[in-house]
Structure formats: structure tokens, C-alpha cells
């Protein structure tokens, strides 16, 4: 039977459609092969977790993680009590931490300083209140942050003026200039509890907008210090940047665009932070620790830098272009006895052979993270055989794994986001880092050199839940690409004099490829001498982080004894009158650390330090120790070099002749 004309036509139409559909499909695939569809991706994140890290220390900090987690989910409303842990660890080194469940009578009894963070101070059980009162009577220093209920009634002002928004610090008791002036210039964005009248016998130590914000009340032999402002909000806002209340970050350049990727500059708490030569966050921390707490009891701590150095410079060399040329600056740094941190992107062309060479030279590797969702994201085509119509961003985990295959030590634990981009979610990048085992981030590089984030020291970051993430942020303080703002020599000088900072310095090794600026190169060469003259180390993140971790994990306990006759001083000169003895026990695994003690305790001045008597050949022998004078934000300390292991030191204070 002959097919009808109509049926032949219908059949041809079907074949025509199939043919053209095939042609269009092939054309589409070929076109997509050249211009693939970009897919987005979700990167694994983790959330903050309560920290259980604690050591033996004179300073006990009590924090209620549940209260932190359950606090209001806005930036202002969040409980930032965890900032106390960062502050005390950064300033002193080891601290003891307890929760309401783990705090014991022994811990309370052995601590000479007890800090009740706001998470706890809001509602303290009667039994604990009694113990605290007794400890204060016995000579301990109790610090309470924005207390509520019976605790406020017992030790603090009435708080009846309610929550006020603070604008500036107006008084800082005992803080010497220039640090006092610097502190009063600090941008303030926090709340304080106002009272209608001061607490009787209270001495104001810090005022906000003229109102007492930190004040101390003598109780028996001890003191109760009330911190009546949200110090956590202030510190976190300075150090991690301040987002909107819902934890979103708007791009400072295009604030009305909801899809714009913000840069790191958008995080800054205040425009005044840009190009600042003062590490305000550290200044506030040191004032609280040395100027407020340390005013009422001598605090023993561990010096923040190995070998007693005044500070450290950490050169960073981020690179996505030079491949095996990434190590050329490290070559020269080695000649100067220095190391640095090199951050390579996965497409830089770095080979395993060169990575091994850098590793042998002591260089520390990190990832230059081409983060998805930013203009710097790295995508790779995906498909079958030769057809790859889809481009997928390589996630952080993928980039770490890929770079890890090139590095001798495997996946790196240090990261820097390429291009100074951030995320609209304030803490998202940190959560992603924590999920992949990243311990150190160096992404906060402002467009102007200086302490845009209030510090140069590595700071533990907090999630938007208020809980800590296991990541340290090392803000970049010095950048070679910009000429505005304080220069390296100025920052070094101020660091050596009293701020004692880590100056993280971003120096892309490809910076001389496009325009070899010989003057800028000369300045880099000269900087080694300048840095050494300022008694600063030149080191890498891994080395310094290892030291600081050992420092945090050390143990320090001490007792303060009164009416002790000091030994004869230098030249055999006897002291006049009875003095104080601060008996310190240190246990540390670091062999280049130093103990710090105040140079004065009230009217008593440091006289001598001795390694406690030990039996040598049947005789008790005490060894006089060499000490150095240091000035930390205007507060004078004595620094005593230590060996690793256990050391017991007696520090004598004699009545001051001043």
C-alpha cells in the first residue's frame, strides 16, 4: 500500500523536527562548551561551639554558654561574653574557664581574680554570691559585667537609668599618656548601664559619655570591679567588624545594592578605623587587664612574643600568578634569618618540587582562597568527555584538597580570601573555614594600612551565635600597595614603645612583575634593618601561632604574701621595711617564653626575682634572675625569661622610695 501524501508529509515533519532539534542541541552544547553555565554551590559550614579549653591560672572566668547561645539574635542583643576569653588570653596567656556547672569551690578558692561575664552575672545563685563575697573579703578581685539582680545590689550601682548607647570614652583612670588620649579617641559603639547615683565608695576607672562605666568598690581585703558596659560588643565590633543588626554586611561602596559582594572595608566598625595607627581593641583590653584589674592585684602572665621580642612582623606573600616564583622573597628573607607565609591559589602554577624547596627553607604555606560568590571565584568546567557545558565553582574544601596535594604537609590550615572580598553574611566565611579545619585567616586586609580592626594580634573569632569558632583572625596591618596611612617605621616605633603588636604585612611577590618599582624594593630591603632595630621578629604565622598556643596552654598560679622581708638588693643594700612576695609557679612547654609581673604593686616597687630555692648537693640554693623592664600600653612590667618545664619564681617588692 503506498503511503499517502499526507502521511509522507507528516513523517517528514517528524524527521525534520528531530533533525533540527538535534542540530540545535549540538549547537547549544558547543556554545555552552565555550561559555558554560555557572552554577553556584553551597560550601560546608560549621557553627560555633562552646570552648572547654582551660588551664591552671590565677584568673578564673565563668561563662554560661547556654545563655550566650540563647541570647537575642541581633548584633547588639547578642551576648558577647566569649570576648572576655580572647581578651584575657591575649593579654595574660593562660586562664582558667568554668561554666556554672563546672565551677567548684576549689576553683573559686584558688583563683585570685574571678570574672563573672554577663552571661553569668545577670543571674547569680545566692550560694555563689556568698562565696564571691567571702572571696572578696579574703582579698580576691571579683569582676562582674553588667550584673543583674542580687549581684548588682551587692556590689554595683543601682542601674536605674537603664541601657544607654555610648558614644565615647571620657575618662580612663591611671592610664598614662599618650595611651589615655588614644583611648579617649576610640570610636565607641556599645551600650552601658546608667545609674541614678554612683555606688558608695566606688572609684570610677572608665567613663562613657561622662557616666561611670567601670568602677571598683573595696570589699574587705579585696575589690569588686563592675564593668557596666557591653565590652564584648565593643571588642567584637572592633576586631571582627560590625555588621547590621541582622548580621548582614552591606557593601560600603554600593550600600543600596543587595547583590553586591562587600569588601573587607565594609566590615570596619567606624570610618575612623581606616588608617588608624592605634590598636584600639588591644588598648582597651590592656587597660581593663592591667589598668583596672591589675591596679588591684598583681597579675602574672606570659609575654606574647618568643625570646622577649617587642613584637613581630609577619610577612604574607599571596600569589596567583608566579607559580614557582612565589618563593623569591622568602629566599631573601632567609638570608636575613627570617621566614614568612606564602599563600598560593590553586591555579597559580606552583609545583610540588618548589613547594618542597619552600618548605625546607622554613616557609609556611597557606591557600589564597578564590571564594565562590566573589569576582575572584575559581570555576572549572564539568561535563562528559570533551563537552563541558557547566562551570562549577571549586569550593573551599576542594581548593584546600587540591593545594594539599602539592604541599609536603598536606592541606594548609591558613587561608586568605583573594581580592579582599567578604560575604553578605558576617560570619559565613569563618564558618566555612572552621568546617574545613582552617585555623588561621588573614583575609581582613583593609584598603589603607593601619589597625582597621583595632588590633594586629591574632584574635579568636566568634560566630554570630556568640560561640567561638576554632579560627584565629590575623588582620593585615601593613600593605605595600598603598601609600596613605601610617608607614611601617611609625608602626614599629609605637609597637616597640608600648603597643607590642603583630604587624602582618601583605607583600604580593608579583607586585614587582608588572612594574618593578626599585624605590619600593629598596624600602623592603631596608625594612629588615628597621624591623630588627625595633626588636621585632620576622616570622611566619605557623611559628608564631605555635608559640602563642603553647603560651595559652601553660599554667600559671601565684600567691601574694604580705609583710615579707625582701632579700638584700643589688650591691648588698637592704630594703627598708617589709615588702610583698609574689610567689609564682609556671608550667610551660615553650622554651623561649618570659614571665611578666607588674613593676609596681601599689606603693611597692619591684626589687628582685629569684628562682625558688632548690636543693643542690644538700644545700638550698636560690638563683637570682635577670629581668627586663617592659612597657605595655604605658604600664610598666618586669619580664623574666623562662625555660620550658616547671619553674617557681619568687618576685619581691619593696616599699617604694618614690
Amino acid at each position: 500500500m503506498v503511503p499517502s501524501r499526507r502521511s509522507r508529509h507528516d513523517s517528514a515533519t517528524v524527521w525534520r523536527l528531530a533533525l533540527w532539534a538535534t542540530v540545535l542541541t549540538v549547537a547549544a552544547l558547543l556554545w555552552l562548551n565555550n561559555s558554560p553555565i555557572h552554577l553556584s554551590t553551597e560550601t560546608e559550614q560549621t557553627h560555633g561551639e562552646p570552648s572547654s579549653s582551660s588551664t591552671k591560672s590565677d584568673v578564673l572566668t565563668i561563662i554560661d554558654w547556654r545563655a550566650v547561645y540563647q541570647s537575642e539574635s541581633t548584633f547588639r542583643g547578642r551576648d558577647w561574653s566569649a570576648a572576655w576569653l580572647g581578651m584575657l588570653r591575649q593579654t595574660l596567656g593562660p586562664i582558667s574557664v568554668a561554666t556554672p556547672e563546672t565551677v567548684s569551690a576549689d576553683k573559686l578558692q584558688s583563683a585570685r581574680v574571678i570574672v563573672l561575664t554577663h552571661s553569668v552575672a545577670d543571674q547569680v545563685p545566692e550560694a555563689l554570691l556568698d562565696r564571691l563575697r567571702q572571696r572578696a573579703l579574703d582579698g580576691a578581685v571579683i569582676v562582674v559585667e553588667r550584673p543583674g539582680g542580687r549581684l548588682r545590689e551587692a556590689f554595683s550601682a543601682n542601674g536605674r537609668a537603664g541601657i544607654q548607647t555610648g558614644r565615647s570614652f571620657t575618662h580612663a583612670e591611671g592610664l598614662p599618656d599618650p595611651y589615655r588620649s588614644q583611648l579617649l579617641e576610640m570610636p565607641v559603639e556599645t551600650q552601658y548601664i546608667g545609674s541614678t547615683s554612683p555606688r558608695e565608695n566606688a572609684r570610677t576607672l572608665l567613663a562613657i559619655d561622662g557616666a561611670p562605666a567601670v568602677y571598683a568598690v573595696p570589699v574587705g581585703e579585696g575589690t569588686v570591679i563592675t564593668v557596666d558596659f557591653d565590652i564584648g560588643e565593643q571588642l567584637v565590633g572592633l576586631q571582627q567588624g560590625r555588621p547590621d543588626e541582622d548580621f548582614t554586611v552591606s557593601d560600603a561602596a554600593t550600600p543600596t545594592r543587595s547583590d553586591a559582594v562587600p569588601t573587607v572595608d565594609s566590615l570596619m566598625m567606624d570610618p575612623a578605623m581606616a588608617g588608624s595607627s592605634v590598636p584600639w581593641a588591644d588598648l582597651l583590653e590592656r587597660f581593663i587587664v592591667h589598668g583596672v584589674i591589675g591596679r588591684h592585684t598583681p597579675l602574672a602572665g606570659l609575654w606574647g612574643f618568643p625570646g622577649g621580642a617587642s613584637g613581630a612582623v609577619v610577612p604574607l606573600h599571596p600569589d596567583s600568578r608566579l607559580g614557582d616564583g612565589i618563593g623569591w622573597m622568602l629566599d631573601y628573607e632567609n638570608r636575613k634569618g627570617a621566614t614568612s607565609t606564602l599563600l598560593a591559589s590553586i591555579d597559580s602554577g606552583l609545583s610540588a618540587a618548589e613547594a618542597a624547596v619552600v618548605n625546607r627553607q622554613g616557609g609556611h604555606f597557606g591557600l589564597l582562597w578564590r571564594r565562590h560568590g566573589t569576582p575572584a571565584e575559581f570555576t572549572e568546567p564539568w561535563g562528559l568527555q570533551g563537552l563541558k557545558p557547566i562551570a562549577r565553582p571549586v569550593t573551599l574544601g576542594g581548593q584546600l584538597e587540591r593545594l594539599g596535594k602539592t604541599l609536603p604537609g598536606g592541606a594548609p590550615s591558613t587561608v586568605k580570601i583573594a581580592g579582599r572580598w567578604w560575604d553578605r553574611d558576617w560570619a559565613a566565611p569563618f564558618r566555612q573555614m572552621a568546617a574545613h579545619g582552617v585555623e588561621h585567616d588573614v583575609s581582613l586586609e583593609p584598603s589603607k594600612p593601619g589597625y582597621a580592626f583595632g588590633t594586629g594580634l591574632p584574635t579568636p573569632v566568634l560566630d554570630s551565635s556568640g560561640l567561638p569558632l576554632d579560627v584565629y583572625e590575623w588582620p593585615v596591618v601593613v600593605s605595600s600597595n598603598h601609600s596613605d596611612g601610617p608607614d611601617l617605621s611609625d608602626l614599629l616605633e609605637e609597637s616597640q614603645k608600648g603597643h607590642h603588636q603583630v604587624l602582618t604585612w601583605s607583600l604580593p611577590p608579583a607586585g614587582f612583575a608588572d612594574y618593578p618599582d626599585i624605590s619600593r624594593f629598596d624600602a623592603w630591603i631596608d625594612s629588615f634593618g628597621t624591623i630588627r632595630d625595633a626588636d621585632h621578629l620576622i616570622t611566619d604565622i605557623d611559628s608564631l601561632a605555635t608559640y602563642r598556643k603553647k603560651r595559652r596552654r601553660s599554667d600559671i598560679t601565684s600567691r601574694l604574701l604580705h609583710d615579707v622581708a625582701p632579700p638584700e638588693g643589688p650591691g648588698g643594700k637592704p630594703a627598708e621595711g617589709d615588702g610583698l612576695l609574689l610567689r609564682v609557679s609556671v608550667e610551660t612547654t615553650s622554651d623561649r617564653t618570659s614571665l611578666t609581673v607588674p613593676a609596681r604593686v601599689g606603693t611597692f616597687a619591684f626589687r628582685q626575682a629569684r628562682r625558688r630555692a632548690s636543693r643542690v648537693g644538700g644545700e638550698l640554693v636560690a638563683q637570682d634572675l635577670t629581668t627586663q623592664t617592659e612597657t605595655m600600653a604605658g604600664y610598666r612590667l618586669r619580664r623574666i625569661p623562662l625555660d620550658s618545664g616547671s619553674t617557681r619564681i619568687d618576685v619581691y617588692y619593696a616599699p617604694s622610695e618614690d
Partner: protein
């Protein structure tokens, strides 16, 4: 069914063809350029000069191997570099009248072998009357003039100098002469004692290699090894076979790094300019007989010259960084740019920064070739590689001033794998200086080609090409401050070199190092500290030209120990030399261990402080203004002057 769909299939087929064509044309087929070449030619003869070089009457046949190459112009290069002013003549023009007034005559191998008896006679008489004659592998027609006691056996390859006792060489000369890789064959000779007890000045392969013979009042120096070809092989390279520098047939027509041409592997890290040392050893010998002045190879009494080159195959911005620093240091540089990657404004910027702009001849080695596409609209299926002449024209149009670039480097410091094709191409394009010879690898450095001084490459017929090759000695990854300082110091103290360093625009991207930037940062200060003239290639070329146009002759009266120098100095105005660049006059500092005691310039007594010592070397340098001058130099008589008594003043030595 196919019939039903035929128009669909036709349409689809056309689309497929268009698409294939489009994708294919995105990578056009490149047609390589045809390059014009030129041949070598005899430079015009010069009649004035203390030293006369005799040249062959006719060019040789094209050499198929280095052994066949006529290296007479190897002597020309040596004399041009060392003396500056010297005479040349064809053998057929040789006559006693032409020899009158000369002090030395040089007879290269090919000339010596073909010298007619009349020429031998004339030269014999010249020597007897006090002249100095240099013969290179003279053969048997020279009778007893050479005093060489030949041995049996066939000539063997000359390897290296094994003794310099006869030269009484000291210091670096003594240390480094045995390192010179020799070329050509060695005429067998019987052993002989070193000078002055015997005739041997230096040994080669353990037998006499250079001998001196007293004949009448003069001297005959006989080379039993091929000096001309040794110098040529050191400077221009030692080909392996068929005058090529690679045995790999696949590389026969390729471009190779010039370092592949070096005379010996040991030259890859040569700290001493071996070709120049050998020249100095030979020519200073002539001054042992009587003081021979020469034109100093640098303006006034400068110890040497220092040049910086910046090959720039792509973006000029990195080079601008280097030029800005040079400008801050008031120092000029030479930039080799790719004509297709330079804009007019960039060219103007470079010139404002004081740079001498030359051509980087793009050959597709470090980047894609420079091409001009051919087609219609967006469809350009063909690309024609721009020839050297095209690239020069393109560059010339972009340069702000009227002068045409005369200096060039081949991209990647590559040359064709054969003897002279690239030189012939460069010369055909009217380029006058090439700067492609040098070490580019990280583990190579120094005088790979035996000299830092420019030389004329010769073609396969042995004729010089009208272009100078100016080697560089340090480049990018092998450049370090210590090396540069060492080379400049040695140059100031002894070698008096033209030290050219190469700082490529891509250096800090491809092989970044602090050493390179440290060297560049201090380069100009180091050059000035070591009294080196900082200049550009164009200026150096112009100065060399002025030096060659200058004329210097001298007469020696042994009785009065008086050297009379007649000079006509030509200078040239240069941006890199304030007051003009005029060659100094180098005068032997002592005569038989007695120093100069008087100096008379144009009839007036002059202070001896006008003479600048050339480091611990043998000469003092006198700076004069351009023009004609007569300089009389009196050497002190030794305490026992009886040896000079009774010498007939009428018998004026040459």
C-alpha cells in the same frame, strides 16, 4: 525521506561548514616571513697606522667547516678592538714604499700561504730594518725568516696553551691564558726553549705555538696555531659541522639560543674575557720591542663602558619601571621593544626617560609571532608573519624622532642554527648593532664569547658583515649584585671591558629574584664607582665609528727614548657623554722598566698628571680634544745608560 529533507540537509551542511570555517579561522594559518639577506664585504682600506694588516686579494670559497674558514678578518676584529687605528691593504698592493713607516705587519694564514716571493723579500727587508712581522702558519715559502724548526707529522687540532713562560706573563694573564680554547690546527714543531733563552713565547699542546725570531734589527713572530680562527671561534662561536651549531637534523633550520654557539663548555661561566686576553698577550708583545701607542677604546680615560639592555617582548610597563629608576639615576639604557606591542605614547615615554629604543625582533620564541592577518572582516584565515623589515618599519613609525633604529636583539637571544644567516638578515635590514649573544640560563654567566667588546661577524667566505655583535654578560636569572660588582671591578682593574647586562621586562614574572633587583638597583652606582662610561648601544656604536675614523701613528727614537705620536682625533656628540666622546690615547707606561719622565703636547711641556694609569695594567691614558695633535713621550734613561750610547740617531726606529 532524505529527498524530503534535502533542503534541510543543505542548510545544515552550510551551517556546519561556516562553523568549521569560523573556528578554524580563529586560529589562522601563519605564513612565515621571507627574510632578505646580504653578504659580507671588504671594508674600505685605511692607509695610516703603525700596524698594517695584509688581507687576501680575493674572497675565499664558502667554508663547509670551521677548518676551511678564512679567518683573516679575525685579525681585523682584534686590531680594531685593540688598536682602533691601523692600516689594511690587499696583498697585491704590498710594496717597500707601502711598508715604510710601519712598525708591525700582520700576515694571516691564507695570505701567508699565497704570498709571492717578492712579497716575502719585501717583508724580509722590512724586518731587517727594524720592523716587526707576525706570520700565521706561514708554510715553507718563508725560508729562514721564521726560524721555526719543523717536526714531522701532520697538523693536529690545537687544544690549549700549555705554557706562557716565554711571554713572562703574570697575574691573570698567566692564570687564564691556558683556559683559552684554541681552534684550527697546530703546525708540528720541534721543542724549543722559552724566550729569551730560546724562541718560544708560548706552547700549545706541549710544543711551541708562538715563536719569536730576531732578524736583523727586527723581529718575526710566527704563530704555529690559528690565531685568527681562535679569535673568531671564541667570539662568533664554534660550529660543529657544516657550519652549523647543532648535530640534530631537526634543528637544522631552527632558532637556537646563542649560548649553544660557545667555543667550549668551559666558557659558560667565563669570568675572564679570554679572546681579549689572548689579543692583549700578543699585541703587548709588540710593545716589548718598542713602545706602541693605541687609541683607547673608551672616551677619555674611562676604565670601561657599562650598558643596560631591556628586552621587552610584550607589555612595556615593567620596562618603564626600570627606566624610571635609570632616569632617577641620570643613566641611559637601551630598550628592545616589540614593534607590534608598542604604542606611540609608550614610545614617547621611553624616549623621555632617556632610553635608546631598538627593535626586539619577534620570531615566535617567547610569545606568538608578530603577524598581520589577511581576510575579510572578522574572517581572517591567513596571517603573514611580519618580516624584520616590516617590524622595523612599524617601530620607526611609532618613534617620535626622525632617527631609524639601528640596534636590535633577536627575541630570546636566539640565532639561526647556522654560521651567519641571522647576521646577514640583520645587516640586510640596515641594523648596525645586534645584542643577542649572551647567557640567558640561570647557571650561565660572564664572557661566553670571550669578550664584552663589539666585533664584526664574518660570513662563510670570511668577509665581515656591516653589523656589530655586542655580547651581554649577565641576564635576568643569572644577574646578581656580587657578580656584577666583581665584573666591573675586574674590568676597571684589568680587563677594561664593555660590560652589558640584560634586564628583561618579564624577569620579575618568569624568574623573579631579589638578586636581580639588587643588582639593578646598584648597577649605575657600581659603574660610576668603577669609572665605567654608562651609555647606550647607539652611542657606543657612534663612538666606535669616531674612533675608527681617528688616525694614530708614531715614531720611536731609541737613542733619545722618545716616542712621537701623531694623532687626528675624531669625537662625536652623544647624549650619554657630556662634552662629546673622544677616544683617549693609551701609551705604554714603561719602556724596559723605566717610566715616562717627560710629556710634551703640541710643543708645550705638559704635567705627567695628565696621564691616567689604566689600573694596574701597562698603559697610561692621555685625554685630548678632537683634532690634530703631536705628543712626545720621553722615557727615563736607566741608571746605566751605556747600552744606549753610540746608537746612530739617524737610525730612527719605526
Amino acid at each position: 525521506m532524505i529527498y524530503e529533507l534535502k533542503w534541510d540537509l543543505v542548510l545544515i551542511g552550510s551551517m556546519v561548514c561556516l562553523a568549521v570555517g569560523f573556528f578554524t579561522f580563529q586560529t589562522p594559518w601563519i605564513q612565515t616571513a621571507d627574510e632578505a639577506t646580504t653578504e659580507g664585504s671588504r671594508p674600505p682600506d685605511r692607509t695610516e697606522g703603525d700596524v698594517l694588516l695584509l688581507l687576501p686579494d680575493a674572497p675565499a670559497a664558502r667554508a663547509g667547516a670551521l677548518d676551511e674558514l678564512d679567518c683573516s678578518y679575525g685579525w681585523y676584529n682584534s686590531l680594531w678592538q685593540f688598536y682602533g687605528s691601523f692600516a689594511t691593504a690587499l696583498t697585491r698592493n704590498l710594496s717597500p714604499e707601502f711598508l715604510a713607516g710601519r712598525n708591525a705587519v700582520i700576515v694571516p694564514r691564507r695570505v701567508a700561504r699565497a704570498m709571492p716571493a717578492t712579497g716575502v723579500t719585501a717583508l724580509s727587508e722590512f724586518v731587517r730594518q727594524g720592523g716587526q712581522l707576525i706570520l700565521e702558519q706561514p708554510g715553507s715559502g718563508w725560508g729562514q725568516l721564521t726560524g721555526v724548526n719543523r717536526a714531522t707529522g701532520s697538523p693536529q687540532p690545537a687544544r690549549n696553551i700549555t705554557s706562557v713562560e716565554g711571554l713572562a706573563a703574570r697575574g691573570r694573564m698567566r692564570t687564564h691564558l691556558p683556559d683559552v680554547p684554541l681552534a684550527g690546527r697546530l703546525t708540528p714543531a720541534a721543542p724549543a726553549d722559552p724566550w729569551p733563552a730560546g724562541p718560544t713565547l708560548l706552547d700549545v699542546n706541549g710544543q711551541p705555538g708562538l715563536l719569536a725570531n730576531r732578524v736583523g734589527q727586527g723581529r718575526v713572530y710566527t704563530f704555529l696555531f690559528e690565531f685568527g680562527c681562535t679569535i673568531t671561534a671564541l667570539q662568533q662561536g664554534r660550529p660543529t659541522e657544516n657550519m652549523r651549531f647543532s648535530r640534530d637534523r631537526a634543528e637544522a633550520d631552527s632558532l637556537l639560543p646563542t649560548a649553544r654557539r660557545t667555543a667550549d663548555e668551559s666558557m659558560m661561566q667565563a669570568e675572564a674575557p679570554l679572546a681579549d686576553l689572548l689579543e692583549h698577550a700578543v699585541f703587548h708583545r709588540l710593545s716589548e720591542f718598542r713602545p706602541l701607542p693605541r687609541l683607547w677604546p673608551y672616551p677619555d680615560d674611562m676604565a670601561g663602558a657599562f650598558l643596560v639592555a631591556h628586552p621587552t617582548p610584550a607589555d612595556i610597563r615593567p620596562t618603564m619601571g626600570y627606566l624610571d629608576w635609570a632616569d632617577e639615576n641620570d643613566a641611559p639604557s637601551t630598550v628592545f621593544v616589540a614593534a607590534d606591542r608598542l604604542s606611540e605614547s609608550e614610545a614617547a615615554l621611553a624616549e623621555r626617560a632617556g632610553a635608546d629604543v631598538g627593535l626586539l625582533w619577534i620570531r615566535g620564541i617567547e610569545r606568538p609571532p608578530a603577524t598581520r592577518t589577511i581576510g575579510l572582516g572578522a574572517i581572517r584565515p591567513l596571517a603573514r608573519e611580519l618580516s624584520l623589515r616590516d617590524q622595523l618599519t612599524m617601530l620607526d613609525v611609532k618613534l617620535p624622532d626622525d632617527s631609524v633604529p639601528k640596534v636590535a636583539r633577536v627575541e630570546g637571544a636566539h640565532h639561526r642554527a647556522d654560521w651567519s644567516t641571522t647576521f646577514r638578515q640583520l645587516a640586510a635590514a640596515d641594523l648596525r648593532v645586534d645584542n643577542s649573544f649572551g647567557p640567558v640560563a640561570e647557571d650561565h654567566h660572564g664572557y661566553l664569547f670571550g669578550t664584552g667588546f663589539p666585533f664584526y661577524p664574518i660570513d662563510r667566505q670570511g668577509l665581515p658583515l656591516p653589523i656589530l655583535e655586542l655580547p651581554f654578560v649577565l641576564h635576568g636569572p643569572n644577574l646578581s649584585r656580587d657578580r656584577l660588582q666583581s665584573m666591573l671591578r675586574d674590568s676597571a682593574d684589568y680587563y677594561h671591558q664593555t660590560v652589558t647586562i640584560s634586564v628583561p621586562s618579564y624577569g620579575m614574572r618568569k624568574t623573579p629574584s631579589a638578586d636581580m633587583l639588587l643588582a639593578y638597583r646598584d648597577a649605575f652606582d657600581l659603574a660610576r664607582k668603577h669609572d665605567h662610561w654608562i651609555t647606550t648601544m647607539t652611542d657606543l656604536k657612534d663612538f666606535m665609528s669616531a674612533r675608527r675614523r681617528s688616525v694614530l701613528t708614531s715614531q720611536w727614537q731609541e737613542s733619545s727614548r722618545r716616542l712621537t705620536i701623531s694623532v687626528n682625533l675624531k669625537g662625536t656628540r652623544l647624549d650619554s657623554r657630556e662634552g662629546g666622546a673622544i677616544p683617549g690615547i693609551a701609551i705604554p707606561r714603561t719602556w724596559r722598566d723605566t717610566p715616562i719622565e717627560r710629556l710634551v703636547i703640541d710643543g708645550e711641556e705638559a704635567s705627567l698628571s695628565r696621564l691616567t694609569p689604566s689600573g694596574p695594567g701597562r698603559e697610561s691614558i692621555l685625554s685630548l680634544d678632537p683634532g690634530r695633535h703631536t705628543v712626545s713621550v720621553f722615557y727615563r734613561r736607566p741608571p746605566d745608560a751605556s747600552s744606549d750610547a753610540g746608537v746612530d740617531d739617524a737610525t730612527t726606529a719605526r
